[in-house]
Every structure is written in structure tokens, then in C-alpha cells.
């Protein structure tokens, strides 16, 4: 797994601090070309992984990458599925079954599953989940996707429902069908680690909000720090800047000071910001300073 991952929130109008800022960002990226320009800047700065949701517009990015495979020889996608808003809106409009029908590839797939009867419920869920994963992965055909994530809305919904089996189905399908590593995005890190451990999903890749102010770190910042320091998993830090609430150096010092954190995902809209963030991560990671976490508070 690469140390620095490039995120996509800035392209799709996601900002946790300000709706105006989110809209301004969305306006900055009206076209595929405007997104590619920033991805190019990141790529040229040596950031070769794009961690992105399976938003419809990513499909266009994928088309572009396939068409220009020469330029992006070692470019990798880490898809995060599903794009939650797409499903949530569909469930609102069509109900749970109607939404499933919408996202399944061929007509009748759901009908066949429903007809199978309750006795085969276990197989039905597995088959259904695999069809949904394949539908989301279709846009990445022929591209490198070494890690595939379950998006936090899905992870945390399943976690809350206690639908643990689904994590195993996801992990197995991603491994078998895509020869990729499964990853899980969550806002509830300690709770998820317990469940994954119980399922025997060893040394999982887990991406969570990890930031100095404890923003969206359910279970508490101490529990996160302890989990990161002591448990066997591969943590990826997201929301490191807490949408801009923490100054970059201070924010990255906190994350880079925790040596067990494998990767950091961040989004930026300009080459200057990308370069600055990358250099900060390099500098602070190299320092590998004595753990400042507990001492600092």
C-alpha cells in the first residue's frame, strides 16, 4: 500500500465544514478535464493512487485513463463502494428492493434471487452482494485496483445492524474475483476492529477519520490511539485536516507521529497544495518523532 493516497471529496462538493466551500469546490470541477488536470499534478508529484468513490463521474475518469494508458502506467485506483448518496436517494425513491433492482446488472437478477426462497437466504445474500460489487467495479475494468474499499456508509450500516457476515462476503469476493485486498472505511474504528477480528479477517486495511481534534472518531480519540498503537491492522488516516479545522503542519504532525499509520489520504485542488502536503508528510514521516500522542494531552 502506498504512503500517500489522493482523495476525491474536493471534486464532488463534499466538505464537512461549509456548504459554500463544498459548492465552490464542485464549481471548480465541472468537467472531467478539470479533474484530470489535478490528478495529473498529483501523479507528477509522485502520488500515484486515486482513492475514489464509485460516483458516476469517476466512470469518465476511468475512460480517460484507459485511453491514455501510456501516460498512467503505474496509476492505481482504490475504489470505495458504493457511492452512498446514490443508494440512499434510490432507496428513498424506490424502496430497498426497488433500489437493488436499479443497481443490478441484468433484468431479472433480483427476481431470481427472491424466488430462491428463504431457505437459501445465506446464498442469496452472497450472490446479491457479489452482483452489486461487480456492478460497482464495472467502470474500473482493465485498470489497476489493488485495494477495494467498502464505503463508510455501508460499513457502518452493516456494523450497526450486526450484519457481520457481509464483511466476509465482501472480503472474499474482492480477493477472489479482483485479486485485490479488501479495505473498510469507518467512523467507528474500535468497534469495527472487534468485528473484523471476530470474523478472522486478519490484518485488515481500515481507513478512518484520524485527526488531532477527534472529529468523527467514534469511541473517542484515546481509543483510536490505543487501537492504532496496539492492534494488528493497517490503518489509513482520512479527515486528517478535519475539513480544514486544523492547520496542515499541526494536523500532519499528529498523524505522522503515529508510526503504525500506514497511509494518509488527502484531497487538494491545486498543484501547490498537493506538493506542500506531500512534502510535509515526507518530512514529518522521516522524522518519526517519539510518540507525541499521549504526552501531548
Amino acid at each position: 500500500m502506498q504512503r500517500i493516497l489522493f482523495g476525491d471529496n474536493q471534486f464532488f462538493g463534499v466538505n464537512h465544514m461549509s456548504e459554500d466551500k463544498a459548492r465552490a469546490q464542485a464549481m471548480r470541477f465541472p468537467s472531467t478535464a478539470s479533474v484530470i488536470e489535478v490528478l495529473d499534478a498529483a501523479y507528477d508529484e509522485g502520488i500515484k493512487v486515486f482513492m475514489c468513490t464509485t460516483h458516476e463521474r469517476i466512470g469518465d475518469i476511468c475512460d480517460y485513463m484507459r485511453a491514455n494508458a501510456g501516460r498512467y502506467a503505474d496509476f492505481q485506483f482504490y475504489p470505495c463502494m458504493p457511492y452512498g448518496v446514490k443508494y440512499a436517494n434510490a432507496v428513498t425513491e424506490h424502496g430497498v428492493l426497488g433500489a437493488l433492482k436499479m443497481f443490478l446488472p441484468q433484468e431479472g437478477a433480483l427476481g431470481a434471487i427472491l424466488k430462491g426462497g428463504v431457505s437459501a437466504a445465506r446464498r442469496e445474500v452472497k450472490g446479491l452482494a457479489e452482483l452489486l460489487i461487480d456492478a460497482e467495479m464495472k467502470m474500473f475494468e482493465g485498470l489497476s485496483t489493488p485495494v477495494i474499499f467498502l464505503q463508510n456508509l455501508a460499513t457502518d450500516l452493516l456494523l450497526g445492524l450486526g450484519f457481520n457476515e457481509a464483511f466476509r462476503v465482501f472480503a472474499e469476493h474482492v480477493r477472489n474475483r479482483y485479486q485485490a485486498e479488501p479495505g473498510f472505511i469507518t467512523m467507528n474504528l474500535p468497534r469495527l476492529l472487534d468485528v473484523l477480528e471476530g470474523l478472522g479477517i486478519d490484518n485488515p486495511i481500515v481507513c478512518a477519520s484520524i485527526n488531532k481534534i477527534g472529529f468523527r472518531m467514534c469511541g473517542g480519540i484515546e481509543a483510536y490511539e490505543k487501537a492504532i498503537a496496539t492492534r494488528t491492522f493497517r490503518p489509513i488516516a482520512m479527515s486528517v485536516l478535519a475539513s480544514g479545522a486544523i492547520a496542515p503542519r499541526e494536523a500532519l504532525e499528529y498523524v505522522c507521529g503515529q508510526s503504525a499509520i500506514r497511509s494518509i489520504v488527502f484531497g487538494a485542488s491545486s498543484r501547490a497544495n498537493i506538493r506542500q502536503t506531500k512534502q510535509l508528510i515526507r518530512e514529518l514521516s522521516a522524522r518519526q518523532s517519539a510518540p507525541l500522542r499521549v504526552a501531548e494531552r
Binding site: 464532488f12 462538493g13 428492493l97 428463504v118 456494523l159 450486526g162 450484519f163 457481509a166 468523527r216 472518531m217
Partner: protein, 350 residues
């Protein structure tokens, strides 16, 4: 531990289920939905007990509290059945389509001193809570006007057909979207004494309005405007924003931030400077034990559970408060007919 049951496994039901089930003081005893597939998959894989018939669930499980997240037309009978069995009730919004029925149920809950709460989750958004605190403290001085807006992408094509697109079942932009804005207005500045100039227009839907506009009037001279449009996909998801003008400035809040402009420093809140002040969700929002879609969804469930444990019927959003929202929605429907807008029952303009 509070023993909780949940009825309705649609979008809101599943979301509530995930949140309720992780609550450290809750024992989730059973779920209910007449639709077999979702219910059976859930019970099979999560160890939950499932019922197709909610009355059977209530009788056999005898829960302390119930979460009702069904389409609105079922609310009244389900709430009634729960209250009759002395069960505390959390019910999704809009509360009751029949205003008189909503008021009757509010009274029943009050008489029995049962905890009642309705899912107007914006009351649990930290920025709106801070906004209310500042308004109540008099930071803005006398309030003279407000604007409450709700926009988002629900109906983006013609021919959608679910309960949300049928007025008789609680569908339409008024019940689905505008009610959130109405409730926030009630929470922040109180219930209007009259409404006027109400417009309920169809944009894409066949049977219900897709946009709602209205002016609210108050006996003290204050006025406000309400705008809601659920066919606006320029918003990634539902967005609610309220701006309030007072003698000493203006305050504006949405889920992410609070913006306060003060003409002069208010002694009640000296931490805010004259001119612009901004507070973001990152500093205003209190952590929750479990996060799914926003801290407010967890916070409202926690508020309900704590209220049940303390037998405190005065929740932040009681049946009484929700019935008031339904009452204003009814006033707006009536006003829209007088105003002569297209109206839900009339033919669309061409």
C-alpha cells in the same frame, strides 16, 4: 437497559436500527415489517427477531419503547397501539396526516406521561442548537424576519411512484421536505399565527407538489419566508438552512456551520465579535457513541433513550410539537387553494 422494538425497515428504519442497536443502554428485542425479504434476510443474518404483524410484536415482546419508521399513513394506528400498551414512542416525521388525530395522540401520550418524540433530526444539529441558544439569549435583539429553506434531490424524473409521491400517504415536498423547515422555524422562533401566499407547485411529480413557498406571519409583527424544493439536484443531499434577522444583526445556520453577524457586541455572548463570526460543525458538534449518517441522527436516538430511562416526557420534539408542524402544513394547504396556485388537486398548467 431499555427494551426497544422497531417497526418499518425502509431507509429510515434501517438507519435507526443500526444506531439503536449499538446504543449501550438498549436491548433491541425485535423488528417488524410486512415485507418478507428484507425482514427475513435481517433476522437470518443478524440474530434479530422479526415480526410481520406489529400488534403481535407489541403484545409478545412487551417492549419499553418502540421506534416507528413506516410510511406516514400508518403512524396514527401504530402510535395509538403502542400508547395503549404504555409503550414509549419515537415516530418518524411527518407525524400524522390528520391534524386532529395527531393532537389526540399527543394528548394521550401526555395523559399517560409517556415519552414521545418525532424524528425532526435538525433540532439535533449542533449549529441549529447554538442558533437557538443565541436567539433565546437575545443576542440578535428583537427578531423581525427569517428565511427557512430546504432543498435537495428526491424527485428528479417524472413517473416516480412510491408513497412519497402520494399526498394521501404523506408524500409530497410539503410533508417530506418543508416540514423539516417548518419544524425548525417552530424550534427557533415559534409557530406562526397565520400563513399567506402559499404556493404548492408541481415540477415533475404527477400527484404532489415539488416546490413549496409560503410567508409566515406573527402577532408581534415578525414575518418569515419558507422555501422548499425537492427536485433540486444541485444539492448533493438534503440541505436545510435558516437565516434570522434581528435588530442587532443576523444569524444563519445549516448542518455545517453557523454564521453570525452582529451590529454590536451582545453582553449575553461576549465571545462573539461585532461583525462576522463563524462557528463550524467541527467545533460545535459533540461526539456520539456511533456514527452512521451524521451526529444528529445518533443524538436524537440517544435523547429518546435517555428520556425513556428518566421517564421524562419533555423531549426536544414531542408529539405535541410535531402535531403543530402538521397543523401549519394543513394551514398552508388551505392557503394554497385560496392563493390559486396549481394546488395538488388541480390540473397542471401547460
Amino acid at each position: 437497559m431499555t427494551r426497544v422494538a422497531l417497526i418499518g425497515l425502509g431507509k429510515m428504519g434501517l438507519s435507526h436500527l443500526a444506531i439503536v442497536r449499538t446504543h449501550p443502554q438498549v436491548d433491541l428485542v425485535a423488528v417488524c415489517d410486512p415485507a418478507a425479504y428484507v425482514r427475513e434476510v435481517l433476522t437470518k443474518h443478524t440474530g434479530l427477531k422479526g415480526y410481520a404483524d406489529y400488534r403481535r410484536l407489541l403484545d409478545e415482546e412487551e417492549p419499553d419503547a418502540v421506534v416507528i419508521a413506516t410510511p406516514s399513513r400508518f403512524h396514527a394506528e401504530m402510535v395509538q397501539a403502542a400508547l395503549e400498551r404504555d409503550i414509549h414512542v419515537y415516530c418518524e416525521k411527518p407525524f400524522c396526516l390528520d391534524v386532529a388525530e395527531g393532537r389526540r395522540l399527543a394528548e394521550l401520550a401526555e395523559t399517560k406521561r409517556l415519552v414521545s418524540q418525532v424524528g425532526y433530526h435538525y433540532r439535533f444539529v449542533a449549529a441549529f442548537q447554538e442558533m437557538k441558544r443565541l436567539i433565546d439569549a437575545g443576542v440578535l435583539g428583537r427578531i423581525h424576519h427569517f428565511r427557512a429553506e430546504a432543498y435537495g434531490p428526491v424527485v428528479l424524473r417524472a413517473n416516480g411512484s412510491t408513497w412519497r409521491t402520494r399526498r394521501t400517504e404523506g408524500g409530497g415536498c410539503l410533508y417530506d421536505y418543508a416540514c423539516h423547515a417548518i419544524d425548525l422555524v417552530h424550534y427557533l422562533v415559534g409557530r406562526p399565527d397565520a400563513v399567506g401566499g402559499t404556493v404548492l407547485n408541481r415540477v415533475l411529480s404527477r400527484d404532489v407538489e415539488d416546490e413549496v413557498y409560503s410567508t409566515f406571519f406573527y402577532a408581534d409583527g415578525k414575518t418569515g419566508q419558507l422555501a422548499a424544493n425537492w427536485s433540486d439536484e444541485s444539492f448533493r443531499k438534503m440541505s436545510v438552512k435558516v437565516t434570522v434577522w434581528g435588530a442587532n444583526g443576523r444569524i444563519c445556520a445549516d448542518r455545517q456551520e453557523l454564521q453570525l453577524y452582529l451590529r454590536e457586541i451582545a453582553p449575553q455572548a461576549p465571545q462573539f465579535a461585532a461583525g462576522w463570526n463563524v462557528r463550524n460543525t467541527t467545533e460545535l458538534t459533540k461526539p456520539v457513541w456511533f456514527y452512521l449518517r451524521g451526529e444528529e441522527y445518533s443524538a436524537q436516538i440517544d435523547h429518546f433513550i435517555q428520556s425513556v430511562e428518566q421517564r421524562n416526557p419533555h423531549t426536544l420534539c414531542t408529539f405535541r410539537a410535531a402535531a403543530e408542524v402538521d397543523g401549519v402544513a394543513a394551514m398552508m394547504l388551505k392557503d394554497a387553494q385560496n392563493v390559486g396556485s396549481i394546488g395538488a388537486a388541480r390540473a397542471p398548467l401547460h
